[in-house]
Symmetry: C2
Subunit: 246 residues, 2 copies
């Protein structure tokens, strides 16, 4: 479902002490950013915060009002430090209770006898939440209004995105083209800035890289119009060739 | 310089459209988190925001009041989209001007004749800023009060941390120990929660993993007292053994 005339914006809230301690490298931002962009939703902000109830509530409240969609990752497992579902209940002032459908899914998966309290906890969520199905480890995520609650483990999160597909509306897509220059970015900086002034409807970014001892720069053109991006790319390619020869 | 009695907290502000578009995977959070922790500074929040002047200013203002230290990454290169230094000048209401020492460093590095306006831009910063030396590509970062302005390219950022070492004060260090269990986390969830209640001065986190088709869980104990952590670890190890056998 894409509305070509409207622009949609999203934020990600990463909940997890393990990211803030440096123990784990976040991999969800990069995946979600691309996934959203392909659907015409621009990621505008990411926040990484600790597993603290008040902090989660405050941040969800700020982000859900500011953006069309908020995606949270982490904190929906079976242990005591998993408090995202409780926090979301408090955000929307809904009862934090067992979701019958979620409980049934877990019962089937764990075959009743193994469904201890820790596992049952994964079926607890705000009243009125809709489920996000989890084909890889069964415990579902959920959504309420514009907030989508996902797990932190990347492989599980990724397996669940299919179920979100039909729940969100996308808008105008952002396209991009990259021109690579064999030069330090400072050599093209001035003229690249002038090009940005000529193409005010596009967004031009410059990203230096160092690979195998070689210095280079990736010049990225982003925007809503493919045609304009290609016009700009042609000018930029000629500019890069000229500077590389000089 | 470490003050063992005080706790220090920090935030990272990652400035860069390239992270939000999914083009680049952030690698600085993980590195800085560990670096800070080794010095007795706890990372409490990370925000990733676009290259927009107003957004940068607002976020720096919120974070610098909330935490002992703020580290920004990205946006200090030679191109038009590098606006972090200008933003920091506005945050502190200082003139945005050429820093003489920075200019001298760049002149030596680029040998005068090649010092075009784009390169000179890298010496522009708020009046009164102190330099953070850059042994790998010469263009320095800077700091003003509790805000440290670093580049986005990980190898360059990492080479500059040595110069920050003497500028910051650290406090009480957070220690951690990990116990790995060959089980799904839901199998130990309840008893792990009970353990947390017994060791209220520590912070217990549970992180499931899936490696080579095997399911396991990393149980992490964090806290300020090494002795207490080891007490807790012993109890946890026995618990894990018991559950693995059952």
């Amino acid at each position: 479902m894409r509305n070509e005339k409207r622009r949609f914006f999203a934020a990600i809230l990463i909940i997890g002490d393990e990211i803030l301690s440096g123990r784990t490298q976040d991999a969800n931002t990069c995946f979600l950013a691309k996934w959203l962009n392909e659907r015409g939703i621009q990621l505008k902000e990411v926040r990484i915060i600790p597993d603290q109830l008040r902090t989660i509530i405050n941040n969800v409240n700020i982000l859900r009002k500011k953006y069309d969609y908020v995606f949270t990752t982490g904190g929906i497992g079976p242990t005591h430090d998993d408090i995202t579902a409780l926090a979301i209940s408090k955000v929307f002032k809904k009862r934090y209770e067992y979701n019958k459908e979620a409980l049934k899914i877990l019962e089937t998966h764990y075959k009743n006898s193994y469904l201890n309290d820790a596992r049952k906890k994964m079926a607890k969520m705000p009243r009125g939440a809709g489920l996000i199905y989890n084909p890889s480890s069964s415990a579902p995520g959920f959504y309420l209004k514009n907030v989508f609650v996902l797990p932190g483990v990347p492989v599980i999160l990724q397996s669940m995105m299919h179920s979100i597909e039909q729940l969100i509306k996308g808008g105008q897509k952002v396209f991009s083209e990259t021109v690579t220059g064999k030069m330090p970015e400072s050599k093209i900086g001035e003229q690249f800035g002038k090009l940005q002034k000529k193409f005010k409807d596009l967004s031009l970014g410059s990203y230096p890289f160092f690979q195998a001892g070689k210095i280079g720069v990736a010049l990225v053109i982003r925007g809503y119009s493919k045609k304009r991006i290609l016009q700009c790319k042609k000018v930029l390619q000629n500019l890069v060739k000229k500077i590389e020869k000089s």
